[in-house]
């Protein structure tokens, strides 16, 4: 038994971790009585990959097939996006969708149906998924695609591991000419301006904004919009042109221990935000930068989650529909400001349409905020939930560690349809996580 957690270091659960190497070993593990849940690289923030018994996919990590002409990759579920990038970028391919960290597994990408900076135009990871194999509760292995085992396929994409353990997946890649991104950063003075900018730049392939949650008055909601395109060969500097698809490995920083809880306080966060805003001294800044700092700025700091101290943190990510969403966003930001519950990292992004069974994204604005766990936080977040529900929004399960089951059932329109499919393939709730029990999905 070992204490394990998600990326937020909250909550901690005593757990037995079982690894499997081959399909045969997985089936053997599934034959045991205990309830379990698949766990990849544990980068989901809350308790979705926690249980007293978990099945780790990290040893099931072989690449099986790579068509370098057509850009199709098949790999086992424990392969990390990081490893995929190492292989595909030098061959002129990129991940079709990637979240803000490359240290996630392929299995986790499907179970969370991850989205990235290109969601508004290109959708989530499952849009590029041709097929996957999954081991169900009875030990049977099913091949799922949009046309085969359709309902199991749909319930698994974004299904948080509750339909089974994904064995491998085949997905389509994106062609690139270089490993660089042509980036444009635009300052927005306030919330109105940033919302307009998202609209103005909706044809940008990648976009997201860093937003200052603590600033009031005229500068309420001041932000920096960051847009990007895969750089063409012509856009590169002479130096970059020498090896357009290869990046030099960079040294990583590390947070060696948990920071004391006091390190992040309204004062230090305000100071950070002021510096961050000021570093863009011009209204518009442009440059051609390697893909790593563009997509994965925080991956450059190992264990950055320790900055929130040993009590851990919760990332609160919600989406509000386009219609009326801005008003809800103003309400939520004002509430955060009035309570001084500043967030070190706050990311705003416009989503495009998505009508999958249990997907988190919907057309509108999504905001992600980090809150260190402390007294009064959960009551405060419950108040935010009420506003999210009032405006027809919902909360991302991959980040969640504290929502209640009712909020979930009310905010995801296909919840009961999805739950019925989960119950069909997972009838005795062999697959259950701390999260699914808390949300009354499996309890």
């Amino acid at each position: 038994m070992k204490k394990i957690s998600g990326w937020g270091n909250y909550p901690l659960v005593d757990s037995e971790i079982n690894r499997f190497d081959t399909e045969r070993e997985l089936v053997k593990l599934l034959a045991s009585e205990s309830k379990t849940i698949a766990r990849g690289n544990a980068r989901s923030y809350g308790d979705s990959a926690l249980a007293h018994n978990v099945i780790s996919s990290l040893s099931h990590n072989r690449m099986l097939y790579f068509d370098t002409e057509k850009g199709i990759l098949k790999c086992e579920s424990g392969v990390l996006f990081n490893d995929i990038l190492d292989v595909i970028v030098p061959k002129g391919w990129f991940l079709p969708v990637t979240p803000g960290t490359k240290f996630i597994t392929v299995g986790g990408a499907i179970a969370s149906d991850v989205h990235g900076k290109n969601h508004h135009g290109e959708g989530s990871f499952s849009n590029y998924l041709d097929e996957f194999e999954i081991a169900c509760a009875d030990g049977s292995i099913k091949i799922c695609s949009p046309s085969n085992e359709q309902e199991l396929y749909q319930a698994t994409c974004g299904g948080m591991g509750l339909t089974g353990v994904i064995l491998n997946a085949t997905f389509r890649l994106k062609k690139i000419e270089s490993a660089y991104i042509s980036q444009k950063q635009i300052k927005a003075k306030n919330l109105d301006e940033i919302v307009e900018l998202f609209d103005e730049y909706k044809s940008a392939t990648y976009s997201m904004a860093w937003i200052d949650c603590l600033k009031g008055g005229n500068a309420f909601g001041r932000s920096i919009l960051i847009c990007g395109e895969h750089a063409s060969f012509e856009e590169l500097s002479t130096n970059q042109k020498k090896a357009p698809l290869n990046l030099k490995p960079k040294k990583k920083l590390n947070v060696p221990f948990n920071f004391p809880a006091i390190a992040l306080n309204p004062f230090s966060i305000k100071a950070f935000n002021a510096l961050y805003y000021a570093k863009n001294y011009k209204k518009v800044m442009e440059g051609v930068i390697p893909y790593e700092p563009f997509f994965y700025p925080l991956d450059a700091i190992n264990n950055w989650n320790r900055m929130y101290g040993k009590n851990g943190f919760v990332q609160y990510q919600f989406v509000l529909p386009k219609e009326g969403g801005k008003e809800g966003l103003v309400k939520i930001l004002k509430k955060i400001r009035s309570k001084g519950m500043g967030s070190f990292l706050a990311v705003l992004k416009a989503f495009g349409e998505q009508n999958d069974l249990i997907a988190f994204p919907m057309e509108g604005l999504t905001l992600a905020l980090d809150f260190p766990v402390r007294k009064g936080l959960f009551e405060f977040l419950n108040e935010l939930d009420v506003i999210v529900l009032e405006y027809g929004g919902r909360i991302y399960l991959t980040k969640d560690a504290r929502m209640d089951g009712q909020t979930l059932a009310q905010s995801y329109p296909n919840f009961s349809k999805w739950k019925a499919i989960v119950e069909k393939y997972n009838p005795n709730f062999k697959f259950a996580s701390t999260q699914s029990d808390r949300l009354n999905i499996t309890s």
Binding site: R19, D21, T22, N61, R62, M63, L64, Y65, E76, V87
Partner: protein
Amino acid sequence: MNDKKVLILGATSDVGKALAQVYAEQHFQLVLAARNVKDLEPIKSDFEIRNEAKVEIAEFEATDYSSHPAFIDKVGTPDICICVFGYLGDQTEAENNWDEAKSIMSINYIGAASILEEVAKKMTDKKTGTIVGISSVAGERGRQSNYFYGSSKAGFTAYLSGLRNRLFHKGIHVLTVKPGFIDTKMTAGMDLPKPLTASPLQVAKAIAKAARKKKNTIYVLSMWRLIMYIIKTIPEGIFKKLKL
């Protein structure tokens, strides 16, 4: 691409896979052998994709001694042959069931000696090559908790030293590895002391380095040399009373 070829016997084990990784990174051609060839297929594709390595896979059964000459004919003579396979078995089971005892001894000792004899013949013809045998610190002194495994590894260690002595004169090098505890599937569930436990990759890197430097015998973590020295010097009159 390096034109050198490494044969890994027991390539589905954790150390076997780590060795394949280390040699793939050094651009060796890999010949991966194991009992279950189906388990080798994903490993093969993985090295082909990640390292653009040239990989062959082959079925190998340690206790099917008569198949060994044909096996080595089929895969060809390697530049380096690493014998990684082994069977820890269950001591208590072995005390009560001779089949288990026989399996432990025949896989770890007879099977290993049988295939390495064939490899030695081929390398002698070519007058070059390196043979690496993964033995165990358990073979240095018989203990009540695992003497079937220990004695089979003791036999293997003695075999390797004899083989080294014979092949030295033919220009062929033999390396004996006594890794101590390794964090693998075989030891999963055991509560191993961290400072004495090596990772499979650590073991693999140490092996590749020792093979290149033509070392004779290595312990992966040097602490083990001291521990085994102490264990070996305890007088038998005292040793037999210990619960080890």
